[in-house]
């Protein structure tokens, strides 16, 4: 009896795995979205798009948190016959890499009106919208009011000796931040920052999420992370404070989301409609209202008190399109060597 059941189960399994959902990867009323934005923030937007347009969204999310080989590699590998129509990137560096590799195609959307052009590719390969920022997160129980850091350079101060942390600068938004520091400060000053950080007993953690968790838990007094991470800690009632750093100096690094149309995707028209939807003010508002608390790049979008407006901040003056190339060199050179030296 058991043997017969096993045989039936095996036959059924093979039958099911061979029969994919016919809504699969191609078809006119659907769109395939690869995204490096966290699923919890991307899925509600995709569902609203489905409800409003009737176009089914097949979402393939990824996360930079656990350092997977990731969707970017999948997109590059699929270049000759892509499955994706759109890549919704959490930062412009990955979008720039896709442009360099010839995976994306220009799409100057009419819905991009009102979005500052400095957050988008000048040739239209990616368009920036709602943004996160790189912020300092500190534990209020460990950092008294008068000692709150104001600049990332404060991490080199003796009051944070052995109490500061950052994520691995070879990955995710920290890598982009590292490249931005090299672009803005210049090579020698940027290296001084990294060397000073480790001299002061700073620790490299695996991800921004870990920075959030360990600062919130009081293992570290201060760290650098993204606004969405910091906001989640705040919403969880953790004893953390958030500082937008260097408002009197080089400014805070702003990290816009980027909408990228994939060249040769199976549903280009639906892909364009999805990008249009992403770039609309209501999407910026929805992302601002989510736990990610993303900053709208448009000035007219209403936001709650906890979300900063882009105009309220002094943002770091970087050429986003050039950061990808700079990061490429740094990842194979100084940053890799620095991480090797300072991690066990």
């Amino acid at each position: 009896m058991l043997r017969n059941l096993s045989c039936v189960a095996v036959v059924c399994t093979f039958a099911v795995m061979g029969c994919d959902d016919k809504d699969g990867a191609t078809g006119s009323k659907q769109v395939v979205i690869y995204t490096s934005v966290d699923d919890v923030f991307a899925r509600p937007i995709a569902q609203r798009f489905e409800q409003e347009t009737g176009i089914k969204v097949l979402l393939v999310p990824d996360t930079e948190e656990t350092k997977s080989a990731g969707l970017l590699n999948r997109l590059i590998a699929e270049k000759n016959r892509p499955q994706a129509d759109v890549f919704w990137s959490g930062d412009p560096v990955r979008a720039a890499i896709l442009k360099t590799k010839g995976v994306s195609t220009p799409y100057p959307s009419s819905k991009a009106e009102g979005l500052p052009t400095r957050f988008s590719d000048p040739e239209g390969y990616w368009t920036g919208f709602s943004a996160r920022a790189r912020v300092l997160i500190y534990n209020r129980n460990l950092v008294p009011e008068g000692s709150v850091p104001k600049s990332i350079m404060d991490l080199l101060d003796s009051r944070f000796q052995g109490k500061a942390c950052i994520a691995n600068p070879l990955f995710g938004t920290t890598s982009m931040h590292a490249a931005a520091l090299f672009a803005v400060l210049g090579e020698s000053k940027a290296k001084e920052f990294f060397e000073g950080f480790t001299r002061n007993g700073g620790t490299i953690l695996s991800s921004n999420g870990e920075v959030r968790r360990r600062v919130a838990a009081g293992e570290f007094a201060v760290g650098i992370t993204d606004t969405d991470d910091a906001n989640v800690a705040r919403l969880e009632g953790k004893p953390v404070g958030i500082v937008y750093p260097d408002q009197d100096g080089m400014g805070t690094l702003i990290i816009p989301n980027c909408a990228v149309l994939i060249a040769g995707g199976p549903n280009p028209e639906a892909g364009r409609r999805f990008i249009d939807y992403l770039l609309e003010p209501k999407t910026e508002r929805a992302l601002a209202e989510s736990d990610a608390a993303q900053m709208p790049l448009r000035s007219g979008v209403e936001v709650s008190g906890s979300v900063k407006r882009i105009g309220q901040l002094k943002s770091m003056a970087v050429d986003y399109a050039a950061l990808g190339q700079l990061l490429d060199g740094l990842s194979k050179g100084y940053l890799k060597e620095w991480v090797d030296r300072n991690r066990r």
Partner: protein, 516 residues
């Protein structure tokens, strides 16, 4: 009519069959090899500095994990197979739970628990010691199950003979000897598996070969360099696996008596039973309960069980299909391999060597190889190269070494005289397979399918890169929300997953393992 004697006949067909199967198993690695052959850069610079140090860490880690899982898994598996003890099914189900949980989740559980306990715990858990702890939790169940499956092939007659020769102690000693070779191989596989998993090393701050590969691949986007680093890792594993395969190959095929005159009964001894229950419970406490506490503690700050349940419902079918598909496919490959190998010791050595080496290949490379292949292939190949079948096949090929070891053991333990006598009496091959070979292979096949299914469920990299859009699995869903979702939601997802997995495993042990 083909006679069942063919199963015991030598011939070139065995070598051809083994070669075809092993080549098929290596199929996903072909794009990687292609890159290696076409890459113009030299291999020399790779072995300097960081990668050499990472390799050293990895080899020490793999060796440590293999040793621990062998030393713990072998006696536990033998005792669990020979003796009856309280709460047997539930304890064995819980002991196999770490196989179902992706290593990064387990690491985060440990890390969270340590953060709550203070800096001393954090320091203890970080680095090498933490990696050994996390990986051992996953490798011990593989060794335990293999040792258990090996003992299940012992006949009642053999156990009775051992008992007559020297009481239960002699039974245990003989069973231990019987299970040593396959368990050693399984423990070795568990150790090798650590070489391709970057998660714990990344989170616990230990530079390993896998994390170096990941950096090259995902941060530097240098596929050629990563491929060459991968080649070095694979070559080292092959060099280490070859002597083991050579020595283990003859031991793995100890034939049982041709005539079975007694059914095997488990020994009932109250004191020993309590000892076994205690030992398995201790492993569960350290290897399962502790990280789970770390994972689910945030649930105290608010639970999102209903949202977690809806995620489970959304992804349950795919999760089961990927697991069962990979398990079934791997077992079928393993069984075919065992039939082709037969009693040829040289072929068995080759199979073991290749199987051990295949395990060292990072899953992301194999998956990316398939993605590239699919992108080059015409669209009519999509049902094979871009479907759930692709995910199942790739997972099966990745974990098939486990099924292969168990199948080789199971087939090697049968008596050649059965097929010869069957042939003499005109028994056809299908009848022999259905009536004799298949029933004898069921325990090994069942456990092989279970272990591969569990390992496949916990493999995030392959599913992430290969799943058709919209058809993700539950562990992948956890993986993609865990970065920025509230801790209580992630904890709810983890709790639901662990409860579902624990319930499923208990069910499996009750239905399939209850009488065995």
């Amino acid at each position: 009519m083909i006679s069942c004697v063919i199963l015991e006949r030598p011939g070139k067909w065995r070598t051809v069959g083994v070669a075809v199967l092993l080549l098929f198993a290596m199929l996903p690695a072909i794009p990687l090899l292609h890159h290696l052959l076409t890459s113009p850069s030299s291999v020399a610079p790779i072995m300097s500095g960081a990668y050499a140090s990472a390799l050293r860490h990895s080899l020490l880690l793999g060796g440590g994990v293999a040793a621990i899982s062998f030393l713990v898994g072998l006696p536990l598996g033998v005792l669990a197979a020979l003796y009856e003890f309280p709460a047997r099914k539930i304890l064995l189900a819980l002991a196999t739970l770490p196989l179902l949980v992706p290593s990064f989740l387990w690491t985060i559980g440990w890390s969270s628990l340590a953060a709550r306990l203070g800096p001393v715990a954090t320091n203890t858990i970080s680095g090498f010691s933490g990696c050994v702890l996390v990986f051992s939790s996953g490798a011990i169940p593989i060794a335990l199950l293999t040792s258990y499956a090996a003992c299940m092939t012992l006949s009642g007659s053999q156990l009775d003979a051992a008992r007559l020769a020297g009481a239960d102690r002699c039974v245990f000693k003989n069973a231990l000897r019987h299970a040593t070779a396959p368990t050693l191989l399984a423990a070795w596989l568990g150790g090798i598996l650590t070489l391709s998993d970057p998660g714990p090393g990344q989170i616990l701050a230990l530079s390993t070969a896998a994390s170096e590969l990941l950096t090259t691949f995902s941060a530097q986007y240098d596929f050629s360099l990563a491929a060459r680093q991968c080649l070095i890792l694979t070559a080292i594993v092959l060099a280490l696996a070859a002597p083991l395969a050579y020595f283990a190959a003859p031991c793995i095929a100890r034939e049982i008596l041709a005539r079975q005159s007694a059914t095997r009964e488990r020994i009932r001894k109250p004191k020993t039973a309590i000892l076994i229950s205690g030992a398995i419970a201790l492993f569960i406490l350290v290897g399962v309960v502790a990280p789970i506490v770390g994972l689910v503690t945030p649930i105290a700050h608010g639970n999102d069980i209903s949202s977690a349940l809806s995620e489970l419902l959304r992804t349950a079918t795919n999760t089961l299909v990927y697991a069962a598909g990979a398990g079934a496919t791997a077992v079928i490959f393993g069984m075919f391999l065992a039939v082709f190998v037969g009693r040829n010791s040289r072929l068995r050595t080759a199979c073991l060597g290749v199987s051990l080496t295949l395990f060292a290949l990072p899953p992301a490379f194999l998956a990316i190889g398939i993605v590239r292949l699919a992108a080059e292939a015409p669209s009519w190949a999509d049902p094979v190269l871009r479907s759930r079948l692709t995910v199942c096949l790739t997972l099966a090929l990745r974990f098939f070494p486990v099924a292969a070891v168990l199948a080789l053991r199971s087939w090697g333990s049968t008596s050649p005289s059965w097929a010869l006598v069957g042939g003499l009496h005109g028994v056809s091959l299908p009848t022999y397979l259905r009536r004799v070979a298949f029933p004898l292979a069921v325990p090994a096949a069942g456990i092989g399918m279970l272990v591969v299914a569990l390992l496949a469920t916990a493999d995030i990299g392959t599913v992430l890169l290969l799943h058709p859009p919209g058809q993700d699995s539950f562990p992948l869903a956890i993986f993609t929300v865990m970065a920025n979702a509230r801790e209580s939601f992630v904890a709810s997802l983890c709790l639901v997953y662990i409860l579902a997995a624990g319930g499923f495993l208990t069910l499996v042990w009750m239905v399939a393992g209850g009488s065995r």
